[in-house]
Amino acid sequence: MTPAALLVVLVGLSLVAYVLGKSRALATVGGNRGIRNLHSLPSYYGALTALWCAIPALVVLGAWVAFQDTIIIKLVTSHMPASVQALPASQLGLVINDVHNVVAGNVSFENARPEIRAAAQEYLELRSISRYALTALVLAIGIVGIVLVRTRISPQFRARNAVERMVEWALIGCSLIAVLTTVGIILSVAFEAARFFGKVPWYHFIFGLEWSPQTAIRADQVGSSGSFGAVPLFAGTALISGIAMLIAVPIGLFSAIYLAEYAHRRFRAWTKPFLEVLAGIPTVVYGFFAALTVGPMLRGWGESIGLPVASESALAAGLVMGIMIVPFVSSLADDMITAVPQSLRDGAYALGATKSETIKQVVVRAALPGIVGGVLLAISRAIGETMIVVMAAGLAANLTANPFEAVTTVTVQIVTLLVGDQEFDSPKTLAAFALGLVLFLVTLGLNILALHIVKKYREQYE
């Protein structure tokens, strides 16, 4: 049976288990009239039986499916001719890929090379054995589960508590996924990055001024494929993020202030959702806008006043990124400003301050920690933003502070290095993970700091 079919059978089996458990529970107390003597409702006994039937079997099924292929491939390769086994890992991978293709039917049997054909044959045989074994095992486990629970069912048996404990564990499991994600990110990125730093020294990466991963001289020579000095990327990221913040912070802050403190209620009700639309637009749309509208427009303006502007200038990307971040800044600033207690405003008004004096010197001053936290979050967003820069900023790793030139960023390089065909071992691919690690650590630091500041600020006025 294929694993998918087995899954369906297993679901059917647990339905049977439910009925069996429920009927058994009712039988112990003599049918529906004795139901009051049961500790839990009959359905809990059914549910417990079904869970014990399904969960262990599912675990086995999952583990089996996850490792089946690896084990079979190990066996198949060990039976391959010695000449094949002696191949380096990357070429062996290609051979195994061929086997997979034949097995999957992508390549017909007749067209394959003899050793591949033999291996595929063996693969299929082993897989069918494995499937028989799996079917027998899973069904056996399911039935054993049913029998075990059924024999334990008695009127005193606390089925509800047992079911609820299992549910609670499931809930805990779900909440752990978030933690596992973080751990997964750190492990996967750090692991690959460590391999990169095994090939390219870390100080080269952090302090090197030249970035040209594409210029491989000889593929088999370690560390010789290009230079991996990431400073131009960091500088480019900083330049574009800086431009973005120059746009986003004043516009976001001023519009938040205007809407929170000055605007008529009706004006606010109309304009606020309008501005929030900006937050819902996918970044790829901004990227398109930056690359096809803003970029050429800026270049045209530059030409008309005799200023050389690259068509993929940092300015275009930064400008559009700034627009994207405006609603982010303004909604955070709005939260912070409305959190400032009215009593502070009253205090300033009572001294004869005008509205703008109150806002500038009292409200914004009081909201400053929160606003700073929000701006830090916005910076983290700008640094991590990918699509706009991929589409509108260039690939040229120029080390410049001129916003009219093309620069590249960390995220652009991650995408360029990883999109398309790649070998998993080349420093070029691994460099992407090293950049990812830097990106993750920097944004994580900013986020933790910002969330901490914002939390402290909220507590202050609660």
Binding site: D69, E164, L171, I172, C174, S175, I177, A178, T181, T182, G184, S188, V189, F191, E192, I251, F254, S255, I257, Y258, E261, Y262, T271, F274, V277, L278, G280, I281, P282, V284, V285, Y286, G287, F288, I323, P327, T354, E357, I359, K360, L377, S380, G384, E385, T386, M387, M391, I414, V415, L418, V419, F424, A432, F433, G436, F440, L444, N447, I448, A450
Partner: protein
């Protein structure tokens, strides 16, 4: 004051300001007013300018995209009298579908075009003439014949898909070109173009191809259907995974977990994950799901796994807020009746919190729909013509399609890209509107 004698003596007047009478102070305040009210107006103007600038951006952005993209939904077609010549399609009269599939339908198209312009002679000119029609037209004819082999030997009038250059010229997106700066169409083709227009044999009709086809190298044959289906598969699986997991996690954290360092850690962790750049999730997906577990690249399955991890924080945060909104009195009432905690949650709290949770989930899904960067990492960026049929077929999604097309040099792809963006925005509007309606309908004040 009007009467100085009633003015009480100032106590311990030592400083200049303290010696100053209120009258003098008021004069000073009055003198400062002009400057301050000017600053007030200026400040207020800055605020208004910022708001208006923001609105202008929105209008400009949408304006350019709609201006560029609206014409995608209409496409140029040329009216051709098609003769399904048996000598070309099925010379052996086998009516065998395999033979028909291999037949040269381009020749049928060419013949049809020559009938419109019988005076055209010479290989080069005939080829130029045929180039007015998209290469996709031949496939359409083939599909018709395969559908109904009785057509062989018959004549019928068909509107055939025009090439992208004709389409662009028709829509006025490219110049006709001059002697010094020739456009994509040569003078002969331009003449035919004008003739076709005059005889009403060339017109803009509803662009069905765009909504029924997958990607293509030829802009006039490229459609969003493949990407829409890819997005659908990916989002469906994302929803299936992230909603139950997110709600379960929120229930645990809000209703069961005791406040301690461990739950604090989870909470900080979730808040941070919500702010981690999406591309990092792509790296995770590449390293773990593809590198470690060996799942297929470019598949909606992997895309959905990555997007699940990406949207989980959003859904958990929204769901927790919804749970927090249920008043404790309801929990106490349920527990007081002897319900277990699980029963309390499933019977009482969850139904009340559900609208809020659904709203949060829809917003999370809308974000997932627009997400591009992590999907590039896991290879959903491939050129895929076929419409995906399962979770493991190679697929692409709408935003990635936008990215791919925006990179194409053909002029016509700019229009397609904008068209795809309009479709994408359409979906987003529907989703967000649903969320808003849901919120307004079920929002409860306790």
């Amino acid at each position: 004051m009007s009467d100085p004698t009633t003015q009480p003596p100032l106590a311990s007047a030592s400083s200049a300001s303290a010696r100053r009478t209120p009258k003098e102070t008021q004069a000073q305040v009055a003198r400062s007013l002009r400057r301050r009210y000017w600053a007030e107006r200026r400040f207020r103007f800055y605020g208004l300018a910022a708001v208006l600038l923001g609105i202008a951006f929105v209008v400009f952005l949408f304006g350019t995209i709609f201006l560029k993209g609206a014409s995608t939904f209409r496409q140029s077609y040329i009216k051709v009298e098609v003769f399904y010549d048996p000598a070309v399609i099925d010379p052996a009269s086998t009516r065998n579908p395999d033979d028909i599939r291999g037949a040269d339908f381009q020749a049928v198209v060419r013949a049809g075009m020559r009938q419109l312009f019988p005076q055209v002679e010479g290989r080069k000119d005939v080829r130029d003439l045929a180039r007015l029609i998209s290469s996709g037209a031949a496939y359409d004819l083939r599909a018709r014949v395969l559908d109904d082999p009785r057509l062989i030997g018959q004549r019928e009038t068909q509107w055939l898909l025009a090439s992208d250059d004709v389409d662009m010229l028709m829509k006025g997106r490219i110049a006709r070109g001059t002697a010094e700066e020739p456009g994509p169409l040569n003078p002969n083709q331009l003449a035919w173009f004008d003739q076709l227009r005059q005889s009403d044999a060339l017109e803009l009709r509803f662009n069905e191809t765009f909504f029924t086809h997958g990607d293509s190298r030829e802009p006039e044959q490229a459609g969003v259907w493949g990407a829409v289906m890819g997005s659908l598969f990916t989002l469906a699986l994302t929803l299936l995974l992230s909603f139950p997991i997110g709600v379960a996690a929120a229930i645990y954290l809000e209703e069961f977990a005791h406040k301690n360092r461990w739950t604090d850690l989870i909470e900080v962790n979730i808040n941070n994950l919500a702010a981690v750049p999406s591309i990092v999730f792509g790296l995770l997906g590449l390293a773990v799901f593809i590198g470690f577990f060996g799942l297929p690249r470019s598949a909606p399955l992997v895309g959905a796994l990555v997007l699940t991890l990406l949207t989980l924080p959003t859904i958990i945060i929204a769901s927790r807020a919804a749970l927090k909104g249920v008043p404790p009195s309801i929990r106490e009432a349920a527990l007081g009746m002897g319900a277990s905690r699980i029963q309390m949650v499933t019977h009482h709290v969850l139904p009340l919190a559900m609208p809020g949770m659904l709203t949060g989930t829809i917003i999370g899904m809308a974000r997932a729909l627009g997400e591009t960067a992590p999907l590039l990492m896991i290879g959903m960026v491939a050129f895929i013509v076929d419409v995906p049929k399962s979770f493991t077929d190679p697929a692409t999604v709408l935003p990635v399609q936008v990215f791919l097309w925006s990179d194409s040099p053909e002029r016509a792809f700019v229009e397609r890209t904008s068209g795809a963006i309009i479709v994408l925005l359409g979906f987003l509007v529907i989703m967000n509107a649903t969320a808003v309606v849901l919120r307004n309908k079920f929002e409860r004040r306790w």
